[in-house]
């Protein structure tokens, strides 16, 4: 849109955008509108009759204690995942930024969990914490702590938080490190000449200057924890025990594909869409603001 010259008008640009637009309409816009439409319908038990019920599905959803629990669990899950992985990544990046020798080697060793699929990450952690065989479970047992995430809901939640945070560390690490390396060295040097020690410098210079990166990562981590952790939950706990780890994306899948509650699942889809759209808008407003400065 900022180009000085353009090609002459012709049907070509329409041809060029056609594949992308077709796929968007068929697999994104149409299903999304279907989800909105279905969320207003109720199907009877035999699938013979559908009835238009306006917002009944939503009313039912919001008056459903189970859904509220799921919502609460999602919040707990996402905030802990964001906190844990951001915190670890920040410490590692701050240290790696100070290191002169071997920084690349450390980076190589730290970034690869990004490439591990969530469901695979889940499998790894489940194996380590397997109540009968797992190595960590065994060690905990030795220390007198009984670990069984198949029975204990809090432990199950902790396990998926560990797995989800573990996988996200590399992503956060890379962005933090890039953000820190973009801060001019002269700033920290000036602060050092002013007499600030390393920790003080970090909190007064580096951390404030890093805040755009931190904010961006916070949004990205919440999006990740909300939507991309399905594989982890599905592999590790299947939402159990007794729904203790049934976060919202898992519930949509479970109610729709396993429970076959179409209207309810569609209503949940719509709620999730509203959340994603809100997060995307927040993120874009932030990007716009960044552009202004």
């Amino acid at each position: 849109m900022l180009k000085r010259t353009h090609f002459n008008p012709s049907p070509l640009p329409y041809l060029l955008v056609t594949p992308q637009i077709l796929i968007t309409i068929i697999f994104f816009i149409w299903p999304a509108s279907q989800a909105v439409f279905q969320s207003l319908l109720v199907e009877d038990a035999f699938g013979l009759k559908t009835e238009f019920v306006w917002f009944d599905n939503f009313i039912e959803l919001f008056s459903d204690q189970i859904y509220f629990n799921s919502f609460g669990k999602t919040i707990v899950f996402s905030s802990l995942v964001a906190f844990l992985s951001l915190g670890t990544a920040l410490i590692l990046a701050a240290t790696a930024d100070r290191i002169v020798r071997g920084a690349t080697t450390y980076r190589t060793l730290l970034i690869w969990p990004y490439a591990v699929a969530p469901v695979v990450a889940g499998t790894l952690w489940m194996f380590i914490f397997d109540p009968t065989l797992g190595i960590v479970a065994y060690m905990l047992d030795m220390m007198g702590y009984d670990w069984n995430h198949r029975l204990n809901g809090n432990q199950a939640m902790a396990l998926i938080i560990f797995a989800a945070s573990w996988k996200q560390i590399s992503y956060n690490f890379l962005f933090f490190l890039a953000g820190m390396q973009a801060i001019p060295k002269s700033l920290t040097e000036a602060a050092a000449i002013d007499g600030a020690g390393p920790a003080w410098r970090f909190w007064t210079i580096i951390f404030p200057l890093l805040s755009p990166t931190t904010f961006f990562l916070l949004v990205m981590n919440i999006v990740y924890a909300f939507f991309e952790t399905f594989g982890i939950v599905h592999a590790v706990t299947k939402g159990g025990p007794a729904g203790a780890t049934e976060i919202m994306v898992y519930k949509v899948y479970n109610d729709g594909f396993i429970g076959l509650d179409l209207g309810g699942s569609a209503a949940q889809s719509v709620v999730l869409m509203v959340i994603v759209i809100t997060l995307t808008v927040i993120q874009f407003r932030y990007i716009e603001r960044k552009v202004e400065y």
Partner: protein
Amino acid sequence: MVENRPITTFCSHAVLICGIAIVVFPIWITFVAASHDAVRMTQTPLPLLPGDQFFVNLKDTFIKGVGNAREQSVGLMLMNSLIMAMMIAVGKIFISLLSAFAIVYFRFPFRMGFFWMIFVTLMLPVEVRILPTFEVVANLGMLNNYWGLSIPLIASATATFMFRQVFLTVPDELLEAARIDGAGPMRFFKDILVPVSRTNIAALFVILFIYGWNQYLWPLLITTDKNMYTIVMGIKQMLEAAEESPEWHLIMMTTLLAMLPPVAVVVGMQKLFIKGLTETEK
């Protein structure tokens, strides 16, 4: 680095080594588990050091297959994953290049409309619209084939945005010089624009390949035929099939195999990967 006291340097290295230990630990355990035999993997405590069965297990998974009745071929699942990942990565890059080209280099009615329509895909991850999308794919007869696995995932707002950004930084004079040299739009696209953006394309390919390889929910929904299973979902099926007494040494071997290609891509093409990651998310 401002100070250079040995003690701070030592502490920094110590912190990083701890971090790496946390990050590497699950993989180490996986590798160890994949190198012992079935019997050892049922005795507590499980080993912390590798055994000598690694290549035996490797051969076992490949030759005999995995799963309850050994009916799933690991080679086939790897192949399916590879095909799906390639189709998704190449497809996304291809259609995004085309639409970014149209949006940047042409003025046409509804251009902004198309732009926003593409933007919508950013807002609707597959997880939030699984049921209706599944219905569409089922109606189109795309269950249990590679088209169904890849096409619904290849619309990409991020890739389109990134290419738009890249194209906007390509100097206008290149287009003008090409026009004077006698190149039409598609010539310019093929001879100048794509070669000029090749590093960005490569960087994006790394990210999208990993994205494609690691798809889980989507293949899980639309494949019921074991011959179409991807390796990532295959692991889950193995776990499920063997709820009672999982053969951990084989499962962990398969897990290693499932991780290997994307990890190799990230580590081997680190520079491109970091470039791709930081540029697509901007």
